[in-house]
């Protein structure tokens, strides 16, 4: 073709400039040179403004999340892995099988192309690992100082197995509350790299796609699983309070039963944080009918992402929808959600 690019992308030293978002040839070079290469599928290469796929009839779920994590790179992942795994997880929390993702990039002028490529490559790898392709996308560029490196919004769709209807208002008194593993790892890993805070820790983000763990749980517990949530922003405290309020129940949980790495506990003490408020990106909490709790827990523990799965408490009848925790010291306290800011830009 005679109209090949007149100016090549300089991946090693180049930076994103406003022309990369202007709809012309430079944008096409950026998209083909970084995103198509990283995400690598025929949907994107077809070059349409939307992508098509065949669906069976049934119940579909759709979700979206924006990602603004700071810093963009942290131990155990980066904004790209979060954007892929996080949206897959929101689909999986409906018990659904995630099928396809979209990705919208808002990039600050001057952002290094090497960083963008590394983020895109991580997204491609996460998407291939999960078997959920990124089939459509968009790129915008804003002037220097009008964004912070890169923001990513992903959306996703998936199909719900017949007979399953997980909803945030489905918890009933006596239901078991199970968690797939230790809390707070993601939040601590990100905080450990904040400019104003940097501290040494061996903790890495737990960012992971949970859909295969969910499939095993659904196979074991079926419709006995009332609902699932991944406790991201606001941690398990916000999540349990939200479920309590939607389902009009209370929760009694047991502090000693909640998996917590000693290093995370130490970092939270150092930072003045309650690990119950700290974000997770590869953990889920399920509320399960009592008769299926053991089977679901067993299925979780048989999966690599659920080895430390634990029963952490029960739903109770409570018109005030309180979340109460038996503490390690033998007392009890109310677990509230935070009213104010705590950990901005953790995901």
């Amino acid at each position: 073709m005679i109209k090949a690019s007149s100016r090549k992308l300089d991946l090693a030293n180049g930076r994103v400039d406003l022309s990369h978002g202007a709809g012309g040839r430079a944008m096409r070079q950026l998209i083909e040179g970084i995103f198509h290469k990283a995400f690598d599928n025929d949907w994107l290469r077809a070059g349409n403004d939307q992508s098509a796929f065949v669906v069976p009839s049934g119940r579909m779920v759709m979700t979206t999340d924006g990602y603004v994590v700071s810093p963009l790179f942290f131990p155990g992942g980066n904004i790209g892995t979060l954007a892929v795994n996080g949206t897959i997880n929101d689909i999986a929390m409906a018990g659904a099988v995630p099928l396809y993702l979209s990705a919208s990039f808002i990039i600050e002028e001057g952002f290094p192309l090497t960083d963008l490529e590394q983020i895109a490559d991580s997204m491609g790898a996460a998407s291939r690992d999960a078997g959920v392709p990124i089939i459509t996308g968009d790129t915008k560029v804003v002037e220097r100082g009008k964004a912070d490196g890169v923001f990513i919004s992903t959306a996703g769709v998936g199909m719900v197995p017949a007979g399953l209807d997980l909803r945030s208002d489905a918890a009933r008194p006596r239901d078991a509350v199970v968690i797939s593993g230790s809390i707070g790892d993601h939040g601590v890993a990100v905080m450990s790299k904040r400019d104003n805070l940097e501290f040494d820790t061996a903790i890495v983000s737990d960012s992971a796609a949970l859909h295969r763990l969910v499939a095993d749980m659904v196979a074991a517990g079926g419709a006995h699983i009332r609902l699932m949530r991944d406790p991201t922003r606001g941690g398990i405290a916000a999540m349990l309070n939200e479920i309590a309020s939607h389902s009009k129940v209370g929760f009694h949980i047991d502090e000693e039963a909640i998996p917590l790495k000693p290093e995370v506990a130490a970092a939270c003490e150092f930072l003045g944080l309650d690990p119950l408020n700290v974000a997770n990106e590869g953990k889920l909490v399920a509320v399960v009918a009592p008769e299926a709790a053991d089977a679901v827990l067993e299925a979780m523990r048989a999966h690599p992402l659920g080895l430390e799965a634990a029963l952490i408490g029960y739903a109770v009848a409570d018109d005030n929808c309180l979340v109460q925790m038996a503490t390690s010291f033998g007392g009890a306290r109310i677990v509230d959600w935070l009213s104010g800011e705590q950990l901005p830009r953790i995901c």
Copy 2:
């Protein structure tokens, strides 16, 4: 419920702060007080991290777009109407019936709640007008100076009528190129409000949802419609070049046939812009098999959004994939896409 909000949203004078993105009670207040109210549907009120709907078997399309338009409010619309109509249009350009949207908000700390409410209300109105509900969303807040008011990424899904397969590589020599109306209105309307540029014009953005116009065209032209595109960023110049390169054809278009408002022509001259490069947000270009061109044009002109529809040229055999235009002065020139920046943040 005893745990009602301790601090109410101050919609009249309040501003977004970091707590509104922190996953806690303030975020829930913002989401319920502004977004649930504006978008008004049971999917959102259910409070799940994803929303479910029943789909028939068939071909589905998915798309996403990020919106960073500056200024946020302009004659004829705002970032919210663009975000709804633009994503509906990307679905419609596949000939598909748009079904559901998602919306991800990235908001700068300090952004006035009144502005956010106005944007959300516009989105709700646009979504109801179009019959395409916003069923799931996400809200993030970044520190002052790390974004520019608000960015919105919408994604959408729709179903393609059986037998239709519009693709950017489907144009064939002798196909007709039709456009639904005048070019450049959106770009000029936005530019007229830029801080460094402000000028007086009566032009308003053409932002509109095109799916019903598309349905009428599909009813008239069926599979004779090869492909459709909405010429947003980069204008019809970039769009025709992209189709040319995907379909491996050239285009001959006629400048005099392209609808262009005198005020838009005047503003473009003042700004030093070629209207072929200027963004549109409520126009479409279709490439149609010659035998169906009249029927499709007639259907377009019968729709309020296609009153000025026109045949503007033809695809031709051309190994160099050039877009050539017969000018008003009787000459001919090559229409290239811009290599550099031109109109940053036009959508």
